[in-house]
Amino acid sequence: NDRGLEEDNDNGGEELEKVEAEGDITIGNDLISVSIDGSNGRVKSITNNGLEIPVQQEFLYYEGVQGNNAEVLNRSSGAYIFRPISSEPISISETVSTSVHKGVLVEEVHQVFNDWVSQVIRVYKGETHVEFEWLVGPIPISDNVGKEPITRFTTNFESEELFYTDSNGRELLERRRDYRPTWTANLTEPVSGNYYPVTSKILIRDQNQGLELAVLNDRSQGGSSMKDGQVEIMVHRRLLSDDAKGVGEALNETAYGEGLLARGRHFVFAGEIAGSNNVSLAAQERLLAQRILLAPWVFISRGSAAQTR
């Protein structure tokens, strides 16, 4: 309201509205929609092709180990090594303040989790995915604790310990929690031992229901599925000790005297594996992945209508 957009009809703003999270909020298009729980401001479900899938999304963080690196068990979490203190990440915020902005081309929910985590959830007209644009940082360290924030999607899928990630340009590989294909694994680091590179996509499937949840990212990240039905991706890191693997510095980056901000996007597909309109969900994901990787180049110039023609 304070920007006067609601009164401005010139740019599809006639439907713009800003509401507090009292009742549930739904944004979307004819193909896909997202419901936000009015009681806490978090994602509640995604409806694709008429099928509603319960999906929760939240931000959490792992606290990084700060050791003395004297021996293996005392190694710190650092640039090379991900070593959380606990296997259970800490929720960043239980309640989320929201504002909704609807227009002719895109519908958005702006979420604020706390003073260092916020997000925009958006659905463009004609698209079959939901975009989550997250902004994390500067990660506070006044408590002298290094933090490794994640975004986590939770569904009711019975994914049977399986999830899929691609890595470094290779094909999508099946990953099984607490398992290695060529030896009997006994993971002493239950979280990091199950983390895998996610170069462009991580997904889970419920074969019995024929459902899939896939998250495409805009940069390489680490990710996992620590419980059936869950997908988590690390979005930022700020750590206070060197892990003694060669960098010689703690992963504690700053810009203009403050911790770094990270802003990125996750593109979420949720629906039947078979997809819709004879296009499988995997095919829809592949086409979007190409559009992300080879996005059009945008150039700005001063000019005239003649030049436009």
């Binding site: 703003g13 180049w297 000019g303 030049q307």
Partner: protein, 199 residues
Amino acid sequence: QAKIVGMMEAMGIMQHHDAITGTEKQAVADDYARILSERMSGCGDVTRKAINNLLSDSDEASNLELKSCLLLNISLCEETESSEDFLVTIYNPISHVVSQYVRLPVSGDSYTVTDYNDEETPSQLVPIPDSILNIAYRNSSARNEIVFQASNLPPLGLATYRVTLAANKLQGRLSRDLEESEESSEDDHSDDSFEETDG
């Protein structure tokens, strides 16, 4: 050629595992950023020339000063924020037709987007989140982003859209009307000397 090779060299450096994973010292990270920024700027000169070659061969079009917005990750673009009337040229690097939504930060409250045919394209203003606006080092007047869809971009081809501040467009129309009115008035008093004036 030297500028393209410069970019190739930068990309070669960025393939080192330290640059990929972030396991470099901070000073090295800063140096990587410096190298990339310089080389991307150089490569931008080449891109500008290439795209101008693809555009109309008229003198006017071949002089387009194309600029890239490298700070869109914090919703900042000097070119779009400071201009009430600008062109957006979009190149599709994929070998089939795609449609893509374009988002650009702007300072005004109402804009009109027109395509090459001067037909209005649906657009929408969306507020930039407060968390971005509050970034201390983001020196920008933009509080909104203009969103429009670049539809059916040709394979390995271009499309150009014009974005005009609505008030500016109105003013432009008024000026044109005024000019036309003056011209018709001048016609009424036609005299050879009028043709020789700058007006």
